[in-house]
């Protein structure tokens, strides 16, 4: 199917089915029940799942295949968001040109950063990309937010290219030469795909359950499936092979007469374009772009997603992105009242003790939990969820078959 072998084809099919039926799968608890807060089947969160999935898939092409750890990937996400916003402001609210511009702009930006950063490897590379991302953040936050010189009747550049701290927003005065400046009732227009508004949604009540189908989600999900398909093709291509060989032994690659740098740069730019695509989609779902999308914590988050899911695996980054965004959403929603209601069955003194112990990790303490998960995964499960799943599967298989240990099939170094 589409030039994939049977295994990859069924993986793609599985992901596609999961993504299409996500509004059902992620909404297992009926509305109004005590467990309803664990539901994730609402458009806003599902959109984040797939968008961060794209971001992590792209990051995995760089980190998973070549082993180069970029700590500044959020910069491309931010560039993508800003580019999409400018497309909305200048041309019109159709998302396709906006996404095209975000991919192109982030690609160009990645060429620039990659050209410099890839001169060094290892930690130098990580530090350089981190420095570049922080520089982009500082630029977006203050430098590019000052008013440009010259008459500017429409007030387009009133707050500079990036809008500084408040971010870049749509206004009724934007030209939008191919679209309308405002809707008929004078509101801001909404990002759409040839008229299909991204935020439109239909609800399907089934008994106690309410399933929501959002146009924005299905559009993002479709883009993610394409991105996923492309990443499978990259993983299986000769180009992907060379990237892998950079990870396993760059010196030997040099000795065979290959110059790895163009391949590295290509991988870096591709993964930057994925990030830009994710950023553009983010702006399409909610037309707003702010500098905090470029902050180092955002870069750290995508690293964590990829690692939690499984570095270098196909499905890992998607799993990791979903897991992190789900936990973030659920954990930051819990407050001490909910905790008290959970542990109400315990005697009073014990209940208070348990709640006091857990309290620092929930609500605003989500970042603490995130940091701890990060450390635990790196320490105990460097291969991420995928490796964990394989280990568990192997355990069961061994118990059943009692097979003798098979000889190692690792390639010789």
């Amino acid at each position: 199917m589409f030039g994939l072998n049977k295994k990859d084809g069924s993986l793609l099919l599985l992901v596609a089915v999961l993504v299409i039926f996500a509004p059902f799968l992620l909404n297992p608890f009926p509305e109004g029940s005590a467990m309803a807060q664990f539901n994730a089947g609402y458009p806003d969160l599902m959109q984040r799942f797939v968008i961060f999935g794209i971001f992590a898939i792209g990051f995995n092409i760089l980190f998973g295949l070549t082993g180069y750890l970029s700590f500044g990937h959020a910069a491309f996400l931010g560039v993508g968001s800003y580019a999409a916003m400018w497309m909305f402001k200048l041309f019109g609210m159709n998302v396709l040109p906006a996404l095209a511009l975000s991919v192109v702009m982030s690609g160009l930006f990645a060429v620039l950063i990659g050209y410099v950063s890839l001169r060094r490897s290892g930690i130098y590379f990580s530090i350089l990309t981190l420095a570049f991302a922080m520089m982009s953040y500082a630029l977006a936050y203050s430098v590019l937010a000052t008013d440009m010189d010259g008459p500017d009747q429409q007030g387009l550049l009133q707050k500079g290219l990036t809008g500084g701290e408040t971010g870049l927003q749509l206004t009724l005065q934007d030209p939008r030469i191919l679209g309308s400046q405002a809707t008929e009732d004078g509101n801001l227009p909404v990002p759409n795909l040839f008229g299909l508004e991204m935020r439109s949604a239909t609800e399907l009540p089934v008994g106690d359950w309410v399933f929501t189908f959002s146009a924005g989600y299905y559009f993002s999900a479709f883009v993610m499936l394409i991105a996923f398909y492309l990443s499978i093709r990259i993983f299986r291509s000769p180009f992907g092979m060379i990237l892998r060989s950079i990870k396993s032994n760059q010196q030997r690659l040099n000795y065979t007469g290959m110059n790895p740098r163009p391949y590295m740069l290509a991988a870096f730019v591709i993964s930057g374009m994925y990030a830009g695509l994710a950023g553009g989609l983010m702006a399409s779902m909610d037309p707003l772009a702010g500098p905090e999308r470029m902050f180092w914590t955002a870069s750290g988050e995508v690293v964590l997603m990829t690692i939690l899911g499984g570095v270098g695996t196909l499905i890992g980054p998607v799993l990791g992105a979903g897991a992190i965004k789900y936990m973030e959403n659920i954990i930051s929603k819990i407050n001490s009242d909910i905790l008290h209601s959970w542990f109400a069955f315990l005697p009073d003194g014990l209940e208070d003790l348990v709640v006091t112990l857990i309290y620092p990790f929930i609500g605003k303490g989500w970042h603490l939990t995130l940091g701890i998960i990060f450390m635990l995964v790196v320490i105990f499960l460097p291969g991420g969820l995928v490796q964990g799943g394989q280990k568990i599967a192997a355990m069961f298989r061994r118990k059943k078959a009692e097979e003798p240990k098979s000889a190692s099939t690792e390639p010789a170094e």
Partner: protein, 343 residues
């Protein structure tokens, strides 16, 4: 001329902080070969040592003021710090006033302890793992430390004043023969620079002139051979980690009057300190110190009003620009040695 001297002086305090953090980073990297993303968090913990000590010293109890009543007729209550009870009013007030310098005494054992626990408890297990894993685990640790501090001390900066004797500025220009009023410089920044110079000097002297330092230097050059000679080099490297943590912590303690400590100050400094290390040359101690001061001073020049009028926002990005230029022209940094981190 006076403007140039003023900017150099202004750059010294930030440069000192960069140099101290970068020195610790390089020390850890040179000895243990570990990239410590949690080093900024150590700087922050140091600053919060100062906050903690000042809070402890200010612990007080209420005492009725004899002969005075409030408007309801109750005896007027006044907070009296315990320090006044223990040392008498004059000495007690002086101790509270000097809480930041006194915090050095608290910070040294605390930081060495934190450093040794970090190395033995966590980083020890990562020597044989790839650098990416080391970066990731220390990055996670930095988040955790930062969030713990945020949980206990809140998200807002906590002002921590310097001793009264050092508050205010003096006319540095008049001292060196300029017209009075041209170069005004705050006392505490000069103290900070002197302190940083002292610490840096002490670290270099320790490495250069003691037997312990000699062994550590030998271990940095060739760990295996030193181990074969029957020296327990791991133990010494652990102590060096504690020492590097203490250097970062002391830098944080003394920096607390300049910037009110907040939970993310460590990360703000860490990113820049990494750039400093890269510019100075990975694994080179003098390089780290030199680059720290150099970049601090450059940053201060870039934030002059005359420069900002031509290139707005240059002060935000100058360090990164310099780093890019240095790496493109001298890939090993200013004083980097061949063969260090060249994989």
């Amino acid at each position: 001329m006076d403007a140039i001297i003023l900017q150099i002086l202004n750059g010294l305090d930030k440069g000192s902080a960069y140099a101290l953090i970068a020195l610790g980073l390089t020390l850890i990297f040179g000895t243990l070969g570990v990239v410590n993303f949690a080093h900024g968090a150590l700087f922050m913990i140091g600053a919060f040592c100062a906050v903690t000590l000042s809070r402890i010293l200010n612990l007080s109890h209420e005492v009725a003021v004899p002969g005075e009543t409030d408007f309801l007729g109750n005896p007027l209550m006044r907070d009296v710090p315990y320090m006044y009870d223990i040392f008498g009013e004059a000495t007690g007030a002086a101790i509270i006033d000097w809480s930041v310098p006194l915090a050095i005494l608290l910070a040294i054992p605390v930081m060495i302890l934190v450093g040794v626990i970090m190395e033995r408890g966590l980083i020890k297990h990562f020597y044989k793992r790839p650098h990416a894993d080391q970066i990731l685990v220390t990055f996670g640790l930095a988040i955790v430390l930062q969030e713990i501090i945020k949980y206990y001390y809140g998200a807002n900066p906590i002002p921590t004043p310097a001793p009264e004797a050092f508050i205010g500025s003096f006319d540095f220009g008049a001292l060196i023969g300029f017209e009075p009023g041209t170069i005004i410089y705050p006392y505490w920044r000069l103290v900070y620079f002197a302190f940083a110079a002292l610490i840096i000097g002490a670290v270099f002297a320790f490495l250069q002139f003691t037997t312990f330092g000699m062994v550590v230097r030998a271990g940095m050059a060739d760990r295996e051979t030193v181990g074969l000679l029957g020296i327990n080099i791991d133990k010494r490297f652990t102590i060096m980690f504690g020492l590097a943590a203490a250097v970062a912590g002391l830098a944080g303690v003394m920096y607390s009057p300049i910037t009110s400590p907040n939970y993310h100050m460590g990360m703000d400094f860490l990113v820049l300190s990494f750039v400093v290390v890269v510019v100075g040359g990975m694994g080179s101690l003098p390089g780290a110190v030199l680059a720290g001061f150099l970049l601090g001073i450059l940053e201060s020049f870039a934030s002059m009003r005359e420069v900002l009028e031509i290139l707005p926002g240059l002060n935000q990005i100058i360090i990164y620009l310099v780093a890019i230029v240095i790496l493109l022209t001298r890939p090993r940094g200013l004083m980097g040695r061949k063969g260090v981190m060249e994989d």
